[in-house]
């Protein structure tokens, strides 16, 4: 894409309400499990109740005898899968468990599947299988297995990075901290559990299933079933939340498709909430040790960040937490390293800000600890270590308005009134008050996407790409970008998305979907306008006649010569003269390698938190959470603000709520439901404020978009934890911070 500034029209930047809003408030929006094709069977699978061992017995006869049950699939009796479940046909593929043997590798692994005429019969049939196991001692804690060195924690992240001389940095430090933070396993728990409705027609497969990566999912399913990718139609118009868990095909989905193939009837499978804790990914546990040093003026001499992170016994994906320490603070030396430990848990995967969330939590707390040790205000400490170029590499930032974020966030919060000493602020009723802050930081990657734009005879347009809306607002923001690319008002643009037969919309992940799919849509619009202009230039009756080499722009449904709005022609008139019912343009977007090489590209922000801690019960409440973020161009401020707030609440959840706990005897997760696995409810959330700082960024991509989906978590966790310390003087180094941590004697 050319390194020029893209023109924006009247849609981008507007706080349009959601285009899918009407469907969503009336119940008309169709999520995967809302489909019920004729003749459909229901599938329910049995999750393993132990974490390690083998399935010794299943009472297949009893299950089969239950009225309504039509098929019981077990490791000993199931149809063959064409592809090897250990294969990795795409970049986002993991080994999956599809009854290939009777080994249990983690609690929650599918060990049998029941097909029945009704959901009730399938559920009861699955219960009647009453599995018995030969169990082995499960390994579910970070100390339960030997650590190993890691070259690639996951999806291309480096295992170890060193810049400068860390030992010299330690030696030069006047103030230093060495601290260890622990983060627990966390589960995405999108409100819509994973679901699929699978229907075969010969060797053609139609899937209704939520997907954050439609084309890649089709390729993976096609590989497993031995059919061409174009034989798979995947419909995913709405995802009921994704957060990273719906990008990677999972075993249960494959089993349901296999069952449908054998049965010759459509099959629906929807995970129960309890089943969301196992085969569909999670954020793995970490133990992070940070050794930080600074000189007498508070300038960092070293950030040394080591992470021990959990993965499954059979697959590799780690929270690459240490990498959060690269790229942010101007330390004299930087070291990030990872070790893994294999546990009897489901394979971890990308969960909203994978690596960065856990890493930022520990880093921002450690920074607070060092600031205190050096006697410097935490914000001032960060400003003293502000990086003007990327630390270690010296690459320029494509843009970085972090200083503005600090200023505006601090101002809105009233940070200057903060006393340095902890445990000094109290409400009149004795409630302890604390203020803390953290820096937010998230990379701005791009994937690759394609799009098509069709101008119609009536002057309206249709734009198409197989994008994914999991709540971030793709139906709306992408349409706004497309409208500007075509020079049309938003209401003149029909947007088709969410089905794999459309041009590949890329991946909704890494906070890169708006930039990538939006870039493709904008380019497709530009291509259509260029074609239309060239067509007009050949039409003697057009004001554009003979303007072929001038370059074209579009506004309000008219093409005009670039830089000369007076010389133009209406879309509809040009098409009518040519006798054309439509004109099609196409576009694609990805980031040129040179830009990736030459610039550091990140979103930044600053988060400030106020917590109140009950003096007797030690209940912790977040009273205020103020975030200021710089993320390039914001396409839709209403939606971006909602997403940033959602991320900040995920930060609150990380800091104070979420944790999956294993029973050490069985390895099962004991709190695998929404009552015991705590996520914030409405009453946990108050005093949220989001500010955005505009950045013009001509390097990150042609649209100048950085993305806002994940950055809200980073910074927020640390800000809240630091506020808890400031309120109480107690530094809790394991997440979530619990009442009992504060009640325990020091």
């Amino acid at each position: 894409m050319p390194d020029t500034h893209t023109r924006f029209g009247s849609s981008s930047g507007q706080p349009a309400t959601r285009r899918d809003g009407l469907a969503k408030v009336t119940g008309a929006a169709t999520f995967a499990a809302d489909n019920r094709p004729e003749g459909m069977l229901h599938a329910v699978y049995v999750p393993a109740a132990i974490a390690r061992g083998r399935v010794a017995h299943l009472d297949v006869e009893r299950a089969r005898a239950h009225p309504g049950v039509v098929r019981v699939m077990t490791p000993a009796d199931h149809p063959a899968l064409a592809g090897d479940p250990d294969d990795k046909p795409t970049r986002f593929s993991f080994r999956i468990e599809v009854l290939q043997d009777d080994t249990v590798r983690y609690a929650g692994q599918p060990i049998a599947l029941v097909l029945a005429e009704t959901i009730e019969a399938a559920t009861e049939g699955a219960r009647l299988l009453s599995p018995r196991y030969e169990a082995e001692a499960p390994r579910t804690g970070l100390d339960d297995n030997a650590p190993f060195d890691v070259e690639e924690p996951g999806f291309g992240a480096p295992g170890e990075t060193v810049h400068g001389d860390p030992e010299a940095g330690h030696a030069a430090a006047i103030h230093a901290v060495e601290v260890t933070y622990e983060t627990p396993p966390q589960y995405h728990n999108a409100m819509e559990t994973h679901a699929v409705v699978a229907e075969w027609d010969g060797d053609r497969l139609t899937l209704d299933t939520p997907s954050q990566a439609l084309a890649m999912s089709c390729a993976a399913y096609a590989h497993l079933f031995g059919i061409p990718a174009e034989n798979v139609v995947l419909r995913s118009p709405y995802l009921g939340g994704g957060f990273g868990s719906k990008a990677i095909p999972s075993g249960p989905m494959v089993l349901a498709i296999l069952a449908a193939q054998e049965a010759g009837r459509p099959v629906k499978l929807m995970l129960t909430r309890r089943q969301m804790f196992g085969p569909v990914g999670h954020r793995g546990a970490t133990r992070q040790t940070l050794r930080l040093g600074c000189d007498a003026d508070g300038r960092l001499t070293v950030i040394d960040h080591e992470t021990l992170a959990a993965t499954s016994s059979f697959e590799m994906f780690l929270e690459s937490a240490s990498n959060a320490s690269q790229g942010l603070y101007a330390a004299g030396a930087l070291r990030s390293a990872h070790q893994g430990v294999r546990l009897d848990v489901g394979t971890p995967g990308p969960m909203r800000a994978p690596g960065e969330a856990s890493g930022s939590a520990a880093l921002e707390c450690a920074m607070d600890e060092l600031a205190h040790a050096a006697g410097i205000d935490p914000l001032d400490f960060r400003l003293r270590n502000y990086a003007e170029t990327e630390p270690g590499t010296g690459r320029p930032y494509s843009s970085k308005a972090l200083r503005d974020c600090y200023d505006r966030g601090a101002e809105a919060f009233g940070w200057s009134g903060r006393p340095m000493a902890p445990a000094t602020m109290r409400d009149p009723d004795g409630t302890r008050i604390g203020w803390g802050m953290g820096t937010a930081f998230f990379p701005s990657p791009m994937f690759a996407a394609e799009a098509r734009a069709t101008l119609r005879a009536d002057g309206s347009a249709m734009v198409e790409t197989a994008g994914a809306d999991m709540g971030q607002g793709a139906w709306t923001a992408l349409a706004q970008i497309a409208a500007d690319g075509l020079g049309l008002p938003l209401d003149r643009v029909e947007f088709r998305s969410g089905v794999s037969t459309l041009p590949d919309g890329g991946v909704a992940g890494g906070s890169g979907h708006t930039a990538t799919a939006g870039g493709a849509l904008h380019a497709a619009g530009g291509d259509a306008i260029r074609r239309l202009g060239e067509l007009a230039a050949e039409q003697p009756d057009s004001p554009l006649f003979g303007a072929g080499n001038a370059g074209f722009e579009a506004r309000e449904g008219r093409v005009h010569v670039a830089g000369d709005a007076g010389r133009g022609d209406a879309f509809a008139d040009i098409l009518a003269r040519a006798g054309m019912s439509e004109l099609v343009g196409s576009g694609r977007a990805s980031r040129p390698d040179a830009d990736t090489r030459d610039y550091a590209m990140n979103s930044h922000g600053a988060v400030f938190a106020e917590v109140a801690v009950d003096p007797d019960l030690c209940q912790i409440r977040v009273r205020r959470l103020v975030g200021a973020f710089a993320a390039g161009r914001i396409i839709n401020p209403r939606l971006a603000e909602s997403q940033l707030m959602g991320g900040m609440i995920w930060g609150l959840s990380f800091a104070l709520h979420e944790e999956a706990r294993h029973d050490p005897r069985t390895g099962r997760i004991v709190n695998s439901d929404l009552a015991e696995y705590r996520v914030p409810v409405n009453a946990d959330v108050q005093g949220l404020q989001v500010l955005t700082v505009h950045e013009d960024d001509t390097h990150v991509n042609a649209l100048g978009i950085k993305g806002v989906g994940e950055i809200g978590i980073t910074g927020s966790v640390g800000a809240i934890a630091n506020a808890v310390w400031h309120a109480t003087g107690r530094r809790v180094r394991r997440f979530p911070i619990r009442i009992e941590d504060l009640l325990a004697p020091a």
């Binding site: 959601r18 999108a190 409100m191 009921g240 709540g471 959840s653 009552a675 959330v685």
Partner: protein
């Protein structure tokens, strides 16, 4: 076994033959009556995604056996708007961006309609947050949800006829 019940469903009286005594109201709506607006988030009464009004009271339909509802009046998300005119709560959710993915939204909206009818929260944010805390939103659209409920409560206070509950 045959069991049948009579429901007033979104204003229309319907006689429904149940094929199974185990059927919950949620699975009756979703898997048998093509009313899929009501969502399943946990099937255990822990998330509120399945909230409907039963005789005007907000109810977790996943915890309610259909067979126990003979004679009941059930309102689901599909029964809230009057033709093209959205219920004030629905409109308020759009206006205030009270959702992201929209999966919890039918439950949130039904819960809000119930809460407003209960008359205990008014437009007080703190009481709304408390009263809406049986409805989990993993996207965490809580800020917008609270604003939306307050807006709708004010509008309906001025125009009680808008109360479809």
């Amino acid at each position: 076994m045959s069991l049948s019940i009579t429901l007033t469903l979104n204003g229309t009286e319907r006689r429904i033959a149940l094929d199974d005594a185990r059927v919950t109201l949620l699975d009756l709506l979703r898997e048998r009556l093509d009313l899929t607006g009501t969502k399943k988030g946990c099937d255990r009464g822990q998330c509120g995604a399945c909230t409907v009004l039963v005789d005007g009271r907000r109810t977790n339909s996943c915890l309610t056996l259909a067979a126990t509802l003979d004679g009941a009046r059930v309102t689901t998300i599909e029964g809230l708007a009057r033709g093209d005119a959205l219920h004030p709560v629905q409109q308020a959710f759009i206006d205030n961006d009270g959702f992201q993915c929209g999966y919890c939204t039918p439950g949130q909206i039904m819960s809000a309609v119930g809460l407003i009818a209960e008359g205990t929260a008014g437009d007080d944010p703190e009481r709304i947050r408390e009263g809406m805390s049986g409805n989990i939103c993993r996207c965490a659209a809580y800020h917008g949800i609270t604003l939306a409920v307050a807006q709708a409560a004010r509008r309906m206070d001025n125009d009680p006829a808008g109360d479809a509950a």
